[in-house]
């Protein structure tokens, strides 16, 4: 982007800035020499340029110090720019009473070019134009001799901003932020970024996977054994039945007992169903419960509850102008009615109580149905116990008389049944999915297949997350290091380019002694062909180095900035002035130079031979009372005899 200054305007500011409006034209000439005697606002104008370019807040004491005199209460500074040939105005309005300074901006391309509050230069420029950089192109010439000590950081900052290296730094920070975000996202699952943590997660996952394999193996083994035993049990039971069937008398008794047991089971089931039905009707569970319900019903009848007047009646009454007795209802009474209505049952609550009263009335039992059903159940249980004892005794007698073969079969049956019970329990422990049962049996992932599957899945997920995170972190570190190296390399290259360019210029300016910048470190380290390292430079040499460095820094940047300099040659001897005046201007697309009359010789007169279309000469002369006269043209410039003329 090409940035040019096309003019500036001051109103009610101190020095000679009570009413100044300088128009440099659009496009402005390449070089503008502004001859202005000391005390007419040169330093103030430079500082206002810096504020205009940075949009920085202006302290109240600085604002109040800008006041032309006590007769004025407000003032203004306007910096007119051209941004890629688009006009733009930055206006600073001063209120000297409050010390406030308000920025506003007018851009032709935006909203019809009207003034908008705020400092609103385009985004790229906003990021670029920070005070340290602006001070390098709105430059105080009297400080040029100190430029060698601007330091590496200042030079680095300027190079980064001018050559747009900061997005690389931003990219590095974005990568760091992405890693942090990703880490936060997965930290609920796994906090493993380190190799050791990854190994631990892998070990944990493998333990769960191995346990799963082991448990499945056990399940298969137990299931196979159970199937074999069940099959054998059926054979043994059939053999036993076949042998027992030969004892016809006992077999008949056995059949009768089994028939009685079946009938008993039906009666037990009936008793259980009766007990359950009674249990689900609280009034039938026990006389005590029945009595309580009865008493509550009686209490409600005695108390005439529920009230026939409901809460809603009072709420509605409070909304009326008059009471039911015809008296008017005051606001106070209305409030009391509403607040006390909360003590009455609402209509829905009345309905519940009426249902309750009805339920109690419709329930004429004596409250013993459950207990009676359970007494019946208890009797059936005793009957079943007796029948089972008789059947067991009969079978024992049949076994005793059945010979060795039957005894052996019965023993085998008992062994198989015992082993089957163990297997069933073991299989339940391995396979139950019921959380209650898992808890009751104190099962964990090492003993129960469903729990083990859950653990294995969870650990696999954590391991995969951690593995991906670790990979992500390693790649991010690599990318971060590439970005850092790129930035560092770019900086080194650009610094070297600036150094070379500075030395090329120095070779032209300082022909007597070939000075060169050896390194850009904390400062500009100088060397000479004659004495090697050279720390002590003459004032002229210092200034030459400063301009060579500054111009080299600014000239190749993607942003073409104007160079505004105050007193560029005041401390140079005439010969060096002439050389500086011949050389430096060619480095910039726009250069505005504030000079005093004593700088004309050597420096300013080096411009006289240049094409008049490229040089603007402005001379600002005092008229008294803070007013100035601006004269244009070379002759007025050349002939001006200000108080600074030597």
């Amino acid at each position: 982007m090409r940035v040019s200054i096309t003019g500036w305007k001051c109103r009610n500011l101190r020095g000679g800035l009570r009413e100044v409006d300088l128009d440099l034209g659009s496009p402005p000439r390449r070089w503008t020499l502004v001859q202005i005697p000391n005390g007419l606002g040169k330093t103030t104008t430079m500082e206002l340029f810096r504020y205009g370019f940075t949009g920085a807040a202006i302290p109240p004491e600085v604002v109040q110090n800008l006041r032309a005199d006590d007769t004025v209460e407000t003032g203004q500074f306007e910096l007119r720019l051209s941004l890629d040939d688009v006009p733009c105005r930055v206006v600073i309005a001063f209120d000297f009473r409050s010390g406030a300074a308000e920025y506003s901006t007018a851009r032709a391309a935006e909203r019809g070019g009207g003034l908008e509050p705020g400092w609103l230069l385009p985004e790229g420029l906003r990021d670029l134009l920070k005070r340290p950089l602006v001070e390098l192109f709105v430059f105080d010439g009297e400080l040029a001799t100190e430029i060698r000590a601007v330091g590496k950081d200042r030079a680095t900052t300027a190079i980064e901003a001018l050559y747009r290296l900061d997005p690389i730094g931003t990219l590095g920070k974005q990568v760091e932020r992405l890693v942090d975000e990703q880490f936060k996202k997965v930290s609920s699952i796994s906090t493993a970024r380190e190799e050791s943590a990854l190994r631990r997660l892998k070990t944990e996952f493998e333990a769960a996977r191995d346990a799963h394999t082991r448990l499945i193996g056990q399940q298969q083994q137990f299931s196979t054994r159970k199937a074999v035993l069940s099959s054998r049990l059926a054979e043994v039971a059939a053999d036993i039945e076949a042998i027992m069937a030969s004892d016809r008398g006992r077999q008949e008794q056995r059949g009768t007992l089994q028939g009685d047991l079946d009938a008993n089971l039906a009666k037990v089931n009936e008793a259980v169903a009766s007990a359950m039905a009674a249990l689900r009707s609280p009034a039938q569970v026990a006389p005590a419960v029945r009595e309580r319900l009865q008493r509550l019903g009686d209490q409600l009848y005695t108390l005439k509850l529920p009230e026939s007047i409901s809460r809603e009646f009072f709420t509605e009454l409070a909304g009326e102008d008059q009471c039911v007795c015809g008296r008017p209802i005051s606001d106070h009474e209305r409030g009391v009615i509403v607040s006390r209505s909360g003590r009455y049952l609402a209509e829905d609550q009345i309905s519940v109580i009426n249902q309750m009263k009805l339920a109690l009335r419709d329930n004429p039992s004596d409250g013993r149905a459950y207990v009676v059903a359970c007494e019946d159940l208890e009797a059936r249980q005793r009957e079943r116990q007796t029948l089972n004892h008789r059947k067991d005794r009969l079978e024992r007698e049949m076994l005793a008389d059945g010979g060795e073969r039957l005894t052996a079969l019965a023993e085998e049956r008992d062994r198989i049944n015992a082993e089957l019970r163990t297997l069933v329990e073991a299989l339940e422990r391995l396979t139950t999915k019921d959380p209650d049962r898992q808890k009751q049996l104190r099962l964990g992932w090492e003993t129960n297949i469903p729990l083990c599957q859950l653990t294995e899945a969870g650990r696999r997920h954590r391991l995969e997350t951690a593995t991906n995170m670790r990979l992500f972190a390693r790649r991010s570190e690599k990318l971060g290091s590439i970005i850092r190296a790129t930035r560092s390399k770019a900086l080194d290259l650009l610094r070297e380019r600036v150094r070379q360019a500075t030395n090329d210029k120095l070779a032209v300016i300082l022909r007597n002694e070939r000075l060169r910048v050896e390194r850009i470190t904390g400062r500009l380290e100088m060397a000479s062909d004659r004495v090697g390292s050279k720390e002590s430079l003459s004032e002229g040499q210092n200034l030459a180095v400063a301009y060579a460095f500054l111009t080299s820094l600014l000239q190749d940047a993607p942003y073409k900035l104007p160079f505004v300099v105050d007193s560029p040659a005041v401390s140079l001897d005439v010969q060096v002035r002439r050389e500086v005046g011949q050389l430096i201007p060619d480095f910039f697309d726009q250069m505005i130079m504030f000079v005093i009359s004593s700088e004309r010789q050597g420096f300013a007169d080096a411009f006289y031979s240049r094409d008049d279309d490229e040089v603007a000469y402005l001379t600002i002369a005092p008229l008294g009372g803070g007013a100035v006269d601006v004269q244009r043209g070379k002759s007025a410039f050349r002939d001006f005899h200000g108080r600074d003329a030597s």
Binding site: A277, A286, L296, Q355
Partner: protein
Amino acid sequence: MTFRLPIGARDFFRIRGGRPFGATETGSSRFLIFDAFSCCLLLGFDRRRHGEKDQLEGQDFLPGYPDTHRGQAVIYAGLLVDAELARKDIAPEDRGSVEREMVNLLDLTSSTRLSEAGNDLLNLYAASGFERLRDAATAPSNLEDFLIDYAQLWRVRDADASA
């Protein structure tokens, strides 16, 4: 909050796969978790003392009455009112206080016919009743034994009351 089991009730009633005593029956004779809850509840009402919130499980086991008990909602509500009147020692003839209790505990619009406060109290009474059940009987191994033990508990209670 609707129905919440007392802590320990799952073990006592051998609740597995959502069924107490490993019940395999279907239909109306199947013993439900709510049957277990209501057995606790009746004992809690009878004690006229409720338990504490930390005696309850962290989650509800049922959002409302099952079909088998829905018709008894007002009876449970009545028993709660009766227990609260007794617990707070409200005189039977104190009409205002009785009405206030009902205002606090009842709500026709709720599926349990109870207000939120009433519902919370119901669960706390179940906790108290389970405490009594566990003190009086060992965990039964099957439904038949439980039904008989539970009936015995009420028989003893009635005998004590009439003694």
